[in-house]
């Protein structure tokens, strides 16, 4: 935040591209998971795991390709995001591999996850290469809206899995969590929509008790989104997705209009919606009960919240060491929703704080990108994506640690799940693209063609 006060941060020409910094950090981001992988093998069998070379090369290759593509197509992009994403994804693979060694339902998941990660990086590359400028996305504002709505509504027509309807099951292919993609698409829609409407929303308002209240007709969109979130909560029984979308909207609305009243209004609606739904929707209600007293819930058969807490507690300050914990006791969903409990038990308080700080850093780099962006659309999109990412981390980690009721979302990059890892790579790619545009030196003023023309004509 060097240029406080000015609206856009136009970098003076000649800003270092920071690509070499990124490369150096990528080396760490690959080495740390490789060491962790070796650690798992040594702890479990007393020898280096057989797939270690393949895994190391695979992760190195992914990081290398991503780096080269960034160097070529987004040379001024933020140097931290790619290494953080690589490190988190690498650690996720190690943790899933480590849990594959336990007798958990579902069989080996690490190879599939590596494949999804590869697809994710492929999408990352595709976004960087084909998305010349993020402002292109602005053209698809309303198409985005329709797509996002479809993605959000589709799971209602598919059978619920584990009490929540957030999956689309395609027979023979697998299942998809459209919410993860909808998160990006809806951010595009909000950014495009708010860029156009923000003046109306910001200026046409009445003052009431120190707050600027929007006009009735401007309330429309926020009420629609709120209604949609509540519907998601009711019909898909998914607190996480609902919270994510509404939070995302409030954040973007606030940034676009600079009106605190939207925050107050948004929070009020959130509370009304959450309390209302929690009081009559049994699935949400039981989640809240589990959260209020996990030990009692354990007695009543809902073991996971208590198991997760015991995993964290047993990990203590430094953890049991990779491969030496018992987070398998969590059982079902240990590799997906609850993977953070394994981090807690095996890497301890130190490891959890490191991972949380990595997430925090990624989010803050995203918001930094938003600050640096020169166009309002880019700003809104960057802050939207970053905030969505941050809220998701908070909702998942907070749920697993018992800070808030648990929701069915996955830890970005860390948890098992194809949709999540692919979507988050795309998200990082878009942020990188925006930051590349933001940090790119202003083009050198072209020599005035007029002057030359006159010279040619005059002789």
């Amino acid at each position: 935040m060097t240029n406080t006060g000015s609206n856009t941060t136009v970098s003076p020409g000649g800003l270092p591209s920071r690509r070499n910094t990124e490369l150096a950090m990528l080396v760490f981001a690959v080495l740390i998971p490789v060491f962790a992988y070796a650690n798992v093998g040594l702890a479990k069998d007393g020898s280096l795991p057989a797939g270690m070379l393949g895994y190391g090369l695979g992760l190195g290759l992914l990081a290398g390709v991503a780096h080269i593509v960034v160097r070529r197509w987004a040379p001024y992009a933020d140097p931290l995001m790619l290494p953080i994403a690589t490190l988190l994804n690498g650690m996720g693979l190690v943790l899933i591999y480590r849990l594959d060694l336990e007798p958990l339902p579902g069989g080996a998941a690490a190879p599939t996850q590596l494949m999804w990660s590869t697809l994710g990086v492929a999408l990352f590359v595709a976004v960087l290469v084909f998305l010349k400028d993020h402002r292109v996305l602005q053209r698809y504002t309303y198409i985005s809206m329709v797509t996002a709505l479809i993605l959000l509504i589709l799971p209602v027509f598919f059978p619920a899995r584990f009490g929540a309807r957030i999956w689309i099951t395609i027979p023979g292919v697998g299942s998809l969590q459209p919410g993860e993609f909808a998160k990006i698409i809806i951010a595009v829609f909000f950014a495009g929509y708010l860029m156009v409407k923000r003046d109306a929303l910001a200026l046409a308002s009445r003052r009431f008790m120190g707050l600027y209240l929007p006009r009735g007709r401007d309330l429309g969109p926020i009420l629609v989104i709120w209604g949609l979130s509540v519907l998601i909560l009711v019909f898909e029984t998914d607190l996480g997705t609902s919270l994510l979308f509404f939070g995302l909207f409030v954040v973007m609305l606030y940034v676009a209009t600079e009106r605190t009243s939207w925050i107050v209004f948004g929070l009020g609606l959130t509370i009304v919606g959450a309390v209302a739904v929690a009081s009559f929707e049994p699935h949400v209600q039981s989640r809240v009960d589990d959260w209020l007293d996990p030990m009692q819930a354990f007695q009543n058969g809902s073991e996971q919240p208590a198991q997760a807490l015991w995993a964290f507690g047993s990990g203590g300050t430094l953890g049991s060491g990779l491969g030496q914990g018992f987070s398998r006791l969590i059982g079902f969903a240990a590799k997906s929703d609850y993977i953070f409990a394994t981090v807690g038990e095996e890497l301890g308080l130190a490891g959890v704080m490191a991972i949380l700080l990595l997430y925090g850093l990624l989010v803050e780099r995203g918001i930094r990108t938003s600050l640096a962006a020169r166009d309002p659309f880019g700003k809104l999109l960057a802050v939207g994506l970053s905030a969505a990412f941050g809220i998701q981390v908070f909702v998942v980690a907070g749920g697993v640690m018992g800070l808030i009721p648990l929701t069915g979302m996955t830890m970005p990059f860390l948890a098992q799940g194809g949709s999540s890892v692919i979507a988050n790579w795309a998200l990082v790619a878009i942020l990188l693209k925006i930051s590349d545009t933001a940090r790119r030196p202003a083009p050198a003023p072209a020599p005035s063609p007029d002057a030359e023309m006159t010279q040619v004509v005059r002789p």
Binding site: V255, E258, G313, S314, I367, V383, G390, G402
Partner: protein, 487 residues
């Protein structure tokens, strides 16, 4: 747009901060509590991760550990001759927890005890798995076998003590159970366990009758009454007591008689014990009074809620009561109750010339490297009778075995003192009586290496046939013989 952006940045920072604070709360502040929560399966996993230390009798382990090679709990407890030793060891089950020595010395057996900290640290530094220490008991394998086999199919219990030290030599209870049968945590273990529970099995095989069950002591209690009488100075061994036959109970119109045609009128203490005269001891208890009787009983160990061997024995009682009840208590047929261990303590105090030693069954706690962590020293509990009176009591008890009701306990060439008992119980004495026998045997040098109490609950034999001398005394004889032969 930058001002709200900065606020959003701070907001996201606060979200992460909230997570960090919560994480510190559960992984630092609450960590120990969560870690040691008994419902946290990791506690049990750690307990069974390495072979458990053993319980030792006569230098040999009576327990073991089996590698199950499956599931969360790697090592499972095994027992050698489990039913025989169950009253000593208790059980250690993966599914149902532990009791008795297995529970009380769990720290030593698992290696978690603070006194093994040094061993643990060395093991950790040298990369060896944690090892458990051993518990060395005072028991005598031959005596235990004699007791267990002597009881056979009867329902009953045996307690044997070394009178000089208080070391417990035998502790048997029948019917018994095999703690191996439910040591694991599978379905078979659960079904075995439920079969042994009181609700399903009225024989209560898991009840440790030697330590945890009190019975009316019957005529064996006359030894305590005699001790109180001699100590009062108002009675002497061979002095006639002024006792009518039958004796009318105080404040009552009930006459108390004797079993059979025995010379109890004005009998001496020696003869009263020899023939087991109800009249003499009921009158003696009455004339000494309730307070006096309680005092003597307590010196022998009654009314002690915390008699730890280290396994806590049930409280044997001699309560405050009215006159007729107190008179009946003098012959062990009222509100006073005793565990077999308590009656063995009575015999042992008499045999040890009046000094009662605290009974104990754990001799040493031994670290995995065989260092002795704790050595139990014999401890005097009290001196209920003077040495002189103790010897008089010995003479009387020896008369019982020589030519009284306890002749079935005679061992050729060995001086044996004892007292029979047949305790009525049930409404109007409708149930089969309890057959009692308490005794001690002497070495050539006159000191007694063993004191025994045997109780056999009910039997299918005829009621007249059940007298302590017929059923219980032979068992006591076998136990005493086993101890004497082992020397």
């Amino acid at each position: 747009m930058n001002k709200p952006l900065r606020r959003i940045a701070i907001f996201c920072g606060l979200l992460v901060l909230a997570l960090l604070v919560r994480d510190n709360w559960i992984q630092l502040v609450q960590a120990d509590e969560l870690k040691s929560d008994p419902k946290n399966r990791r506690v049990s996993i750690a307990r069974y991760a390495q072979p458990r230390g053993n319980i030792i009798v006569d230098g040999k382990a009576i327990t073991g550990s089996a590698d199950t090679k499956s599931g969360d709990f790697r090592y499972k407890r095994t027992y050698k001759n489990g039913p025989m030793w169950a009253p000593v060891t208790g059980y250690a089950s993966q599914a149902f927890g532990a009791n008795q020595i297995e529970a009380l010395n769990d720290g030593i057996l698992t290696g978690d005890d603070d006194r093994l900290f040094f061993n643990r640290t060395i093991d950790m530094l040298t990369g060896k798995p944690q090892k458990g220490g051993n518990v060395v008991t005072t028991l005598n394998a031959k005596a235990q076998r004699a007791a267990f086999e002597g009881l056979g199919d009867n329902k009953g219990a045996v307690a044997a003590i070394n009178p000089k030290t208080g070391a417990i030599l035998a502790l048997a209870s029948t019917p018994s159970y095999d703690p191996s049968s439910f040591a694991g945590n599978g379905d078979a273990d659960t079904s075995e366990w439920s079969k042994l529970q009181k609700q399903k099995n009225e024989d209560e095989p898991m009840l440790n009758r030697a330590l945890r069950q009190t019975y009316p002591p019957g005529s064996t209690y006359k030894v305590v009454t005699a001790a109180a009488g001699l100590e009062s100075g108002r009675y002497d061994l061979d002095k006639a007591t002024e006792t009518p036959d039958p004796y009318r109970l105080p404040d009552s119109s009930t006459d108390l008689g004797n079993d059979g045609d025995i010379p109890c009128k004005n009998a001496t203490v020696r003869n009263a014990l020899r023939y087991s005269c109800n009249t003499v001891f009921a009158k003696m208890s009455n004339s000494l009074g309730n307070g006096e009787m309680i005092k003597m009983s307590e010196k022998f160990g009654f009314n002690d809620k915390e008699l730890d061997t280290p396994v806590r024995a049930a409280e044997s009682v001699y309560p405050e009561d009215n006159k007729p009840q107190n008179a009946m208590a003098g012959i062990g047929q009222a509100s006073n109750r005793a565990t077999p261990l308590q009656m063995a303590m009575v015999a042992s105090a008499v045999a040890n010339n009046g000094t009662l030693m605290k009974p104990y069954m754990v001799d040493q706690l031994v670290a995995p490297n065989l260092n002795v962590v704790q050595q139990q020293k014999p401890k005097e509990l009290s001196e209920p009778v003077s040495s002189e009176n103790a010897q008089k009591l010995q003479q009387a008890m020896e008369t019982v075995v020589e030519k009284g009701t306890g002749t079935t306990a005679q061992i050729p060439g060995v001086t044996v003192g004892g007292k029979t008992g047949t305790a009525q119980h049930g409404e109007n004495n409708s149930k089969n009586p309890y057959a009692w026998f308490i005794s001690y045997a002497k070495d050539k040098d006159g000191s007694a290496p063993v004191a025994v109490a045997v109780v056999i609950e009910s039997s299918n034999t005829l009621r007249d046939d059940i007298a302590g001398g017929k059923l219980a005394a032979p068992v006591a004889k076998r136990v005493m013989n086993a101890v004497l032969e082992g020397k």
